[in-house]
């Protein structure tokens, strides 16, 4: 199977993927370094997290990523109605993720684990909050895809691929954040 090599989406978007990954990596490094300084306190605060919920969130987001990748496949095959359904699925999964996230925050805050209660929680709310902001921007981006699909005149495969790249980036960051906040000991 030989295919021509092509950049997925707009080349310049990859600058964002790389640059924003590095910015997030710098936040992660600060967290890991801090964590090593106060290991015991971090472990204690970390035990308040609900791992199964985190795993459900991760699977929701991974599935949304799969759905938007399927959407792009359908767009390439010019099956726009089916592509629309995949975008809706992506939005639904993203909303479900955000709902879980909100429920998790509410539960933690209710239990007294707030932004200011411990250093671990400071990092937790900061990283998940920054991720949530990226996710919310992602909904705007999904809206752009939907708009593009609905209107044959303005339909640009490249724009759709660029937008899906953004959505995957939201997923990329979550995969790291999840491992670092929930699993790392």
């Amino acid at each position: 199977m030989t295919e021509t090599e092509r950049v997925p989406g707009e080349g310049d978007m990859w600058f964002f993927v790389v640059f924003e990954s590095l910015v997030f990596t710098s936040y992660f490094c600060v967290y890991l370094y801090d964590r090593a300084q106060h290991e015991h306190a971090f472990l204690k605060a970390q035990s308040a997290l609900n791992l199964p919920l985190g795993i459900v969130e991760t699977i929701l987001l991974l599935t949304s990523s799969w759905a938007i990748a399927r959407c792009v496949q359908e767009v390439r095959a010019a099956r726009y109605r089916s592509a629309q359904r995949f975008v809706l699925a992506t939005v639904g999964l993203g909303v479900a993720f955000f709902g879980c996230k909100l429920a998790e925050w509410v539960r933690l805050i209710g239990d007294g684990h707030t932004f200011t209660s411990s250093e671990f929680m400071q990092h937790f709310f900061f990283l998940t909050g920054m991720h949530a902001i990226h996710l919310l921007i992602g909904f705007v981006v999904l809206g752009v895809i939907r708009y593009q699909l609905a209107d044959p005149q303005h339909r640009s495969h490249q724009t759709i691929e660029t937008c899906s790249t953004y959505w995957h980036t939201v997923d990329l960051f979550w995969v790291l954040i999840f491992a670092l906040l929930y699993i790392v000991r």
């Binding site: 090599e5 710098s26 795993i55 995969v175 790291l176």
Partner: protein, 97 residues
């Protein structure tokens, strides 16, 4: 060819979800009856597995697999840089502590 692409995407999804579920097992086995215990092995494994998922999302979902060499190189380099940065932050932090 098209069905194979679809299938491949599904396999990628199954793999990343499976890795996510492995975390549950790692997490259970790492702790001492519900009390969280510090562990270098778990930390390194968590970061390693996350980067495997990171790489799969890039390659399969984001279609870097079919991208020109330059982009493939850049994203591979990104994974390496992130791995080195995270591990060194962790180990330097431990050494200083």
């Amino acid at each position: 060819m098209e069905t194979s692409a679809k299938k491949r995407l599904l396999v990628a999804w199954v793999v990343v979800v499976a890795i996510t579920v492995i975390y549950l097992w790692i997490d259970r086995s790492a702790d001492d009856r519900g009390v969280l215990v510090s562990s270098v092995a778990v930390t390194v494994a968590a970061i390693g597995l996350a980067l495997v998922k990171f790489r799969i999302i890039l390659g399969e979902f984001m279609d870097v697999r079919h991208a020109p060499r330059a982009l493939r190189r850049i994203t591979d380099l990104l994974v390496v840089v992130i791995a080195m940065a995270l591990l060194s932050a962790y180990f330097v932090g431990r050494a200083v502590a």
